[in-house]
Amino acid sequence: MKKNASLPRWMTDYCGMAAVLVILLAIFGSSARNFFSPATFRMIASQIPDITILAVGMTLVLIIGGIDLSVGSVMALCGAVLGKSLVAWGVPLPLAIGACLLGGLVCGALNGLAVITWKLPAFIVTLGMLEIARGATFLVTDYRTIDTGTTLEFITETSFVGIPLPFVIAILIVALGQLVLSKSIFGRYLVAIGTNEEAVRLSGIDTRPIKVGVFALCGFLAGLAAVIQTARISSANPNVGVGWELQAIAAVVIGGTSLMGGRGSVIGSFFGVLIIAILSTGLDQIGAEEYVKRIITGSAIVAAVVLDYYRNRLSNNKN
């Protein structure tokens, strides 16, 4: 009975999303020209790493019952720091990347510290950080795009057995994230805090460093996403990442993570990113009108979670 119960669990968890993916691929494969070309998939592989990395951080934050609305702005700020250090200040590359990652870590840690020190809702703290980081980005870049030239191109051009480095990094982070979440003590505590923080605290565990850690990690990942994103567009754009927080949250929620905390999966989030990426690529390729795109994207977001509802019911009935 134990085996029986765990196998379908695993399968139903992801097979719902896999089904959505297959449906999308079928629709676009038949309606968009050249959709099933290696170029399409190479393109998707080169485009999703940054949002995937953001989604991993967001998953962990949502699991503890938090939220991080600042990831888009923080990513822009980190990119700005990277671009500015490279181009204007002539900082050597490893140092510049270090500064970029550190910047993300610090922004995230500040979010976390504000949350625990004043017991504030993460929503409002990170909303504040969204504005502050964007302002700081404008300050650093003087509102101008910074052309990083070819310095960072090696990142997008390195590849392993044909798979571009950023995609490899993203996959590694997803795998690592899932492992940490489901097997490590840190991960278990995240789930526990998201479910019943008071109970965890009463068990004698100090939840505060864990919470700060998660926000810092989320910020750090935004820094990493910034490196990849800046490399991809060979420039640091001060307006990049506007609205990415909602996109990341949508992907994570489609992937089955609860906004109330306590339940979630990093692999699920990756599926969520894939679904959104394929939807948007497909709509672009069939040349849908903007209003059609909006309506379909909105409906698809809701439909994906509705599907999750029916999948849950189905798998519950089976038990």
Binding site: R33, N34, S37, A39, T40, R42, M43, S46, Q47, D50, F138, T141, Y143, R144, T145, I146, D147, G149, T150, E153, Q229, R232, I233, S234, S235, N237, P238, N239, V240, V242, G243, S280, T281, D284, Q285, G287, E289, E290, K293, R294
Partner: protein, 293 residues
């Protein structure tokens, strides 16, 4: 590498599809394509707002993936799109730049040549500014409402306004962004009007913001004291122009902008050699020019 039909395939990559100006541009292109459907195939794509550079890069990549013959692009960022356009060129695709000019330095540093077909926004803004200057006296005070920060056209228009004001000796007391939006501009304009009671005019980097500024002027009861200048000549300002609520705007023939680019791209497909930039017309629109049939 022609498509099955043998016609060249042109991709129009827009900065935004959710904006009146770009919509007009797109409609113009579509109308042109309808008339010339035997000559080429057209697909239009765009990002949802002018901010999402990464998304636009995706679009260009996806056009490269679809192996189109030419890309006519209104880049959301004058630097960030250069690299991907170079990729398109390397893939043998003809690229024409419209609306928002690529940064010259970036182009040279990457050793690419992409022709720009379009109006000179700075010149257009200067036209409007000069017209306004004639209605004002030296030493009068005006405010500018800029487009979104980092927007190339926004900066050009601001510079054009400044050129005109400076040469007429008119004082710019405030220059803040309205993010191209009506409501934001409404709030900035209202604040300007209060902070500077002697304000004589508000120069807006597009007409949507001019509408917001006009509402602010009206609610402050200063319709007779403050003149408003816009840009783009959209449908929604026609009445205000006729009534003199908005002094003037600038028409850069949005419906033709993409068409110029497409024509140029089609022309280039047959040829080789170093393409040249091509400037298109900008016209000042005032109550008088409207009344003229």
């Amino acid at each position: 590498k022609k498509a099955d039909t043998g016609k060249p395939r042109v991709a129009l990559v827009m900065k935004s599809l959710a904006n009146e100006f770009f919509k007009t541009m797109e409609d113009g292109a579509k109308a042109h394509h309808k008339k010339n459907s035997d000559k080429y195939e057209l697909s239009t794509v765009g990002i949802k707002d002018e901010l999402d550079v990464a998304q636009q890069i995706k679009l260009v990549e996806s056009m490269i993936a679809q192996q189109v013959d030419a890309i006519v692009i209104a880049p959301a960022d004058s630097m960030a799109l250069v690299a991907v356009c170079k990729k398109a060129l390397d893939a043998g695709i003809t690229v024409v730049n419209i609306d928002n000019k690529f940064d010259a330095k970036t182009l040279t540093s990457r050793n690419v040549q992409i022709p720009f077909v379009g109006p000179d926004n700075r010149k257009g803004a200067q036209l409007a500014g000069d017209y306004l200057a004639k209605k004002l006296a030296q030493g009068d005070k005006v405010a500018i409402i800029e487009g979104a920060p980092n927007s190339f056209n926004g900066i050009q228009r601001k510079l054009g306004f400044e050129d005109a004001m400076n040469s007429a000796g008119i004082k710019i007391v405030s220059s803040q962004t309205g993010y191209w939006e009506t409501d934001r501009a409404n709030k900035v304009a209202s604040a300007n009007i209060i902070a500077e009671p002697e304000l004589k005019a508000i120069l807006c980097a597009n007409d949507s913001m001019a509408i917001g500024a006009l509402a602010a002027v009206k609610s402050a009861g200063k319709t007779d004291d403050i003149l408003i200048v816009g840009f783009d000549n959209i449908a929604a300002v026609q009445r205000a122009l006729k009534d003199g609520d908005i002094l003037c705007t600038v028409d850069q023939h949005a419906d033709q902008l993409a068409v110029f680019g497409i024509d140029y791209a089609l022309e280039m497909l047959g040829k080789s050699g170093t393409p040249q930039d091509q400037e298109t017309a900008v016209d000042l629109i005032t109550a008088e020019t409207i009344k003229r049939p």
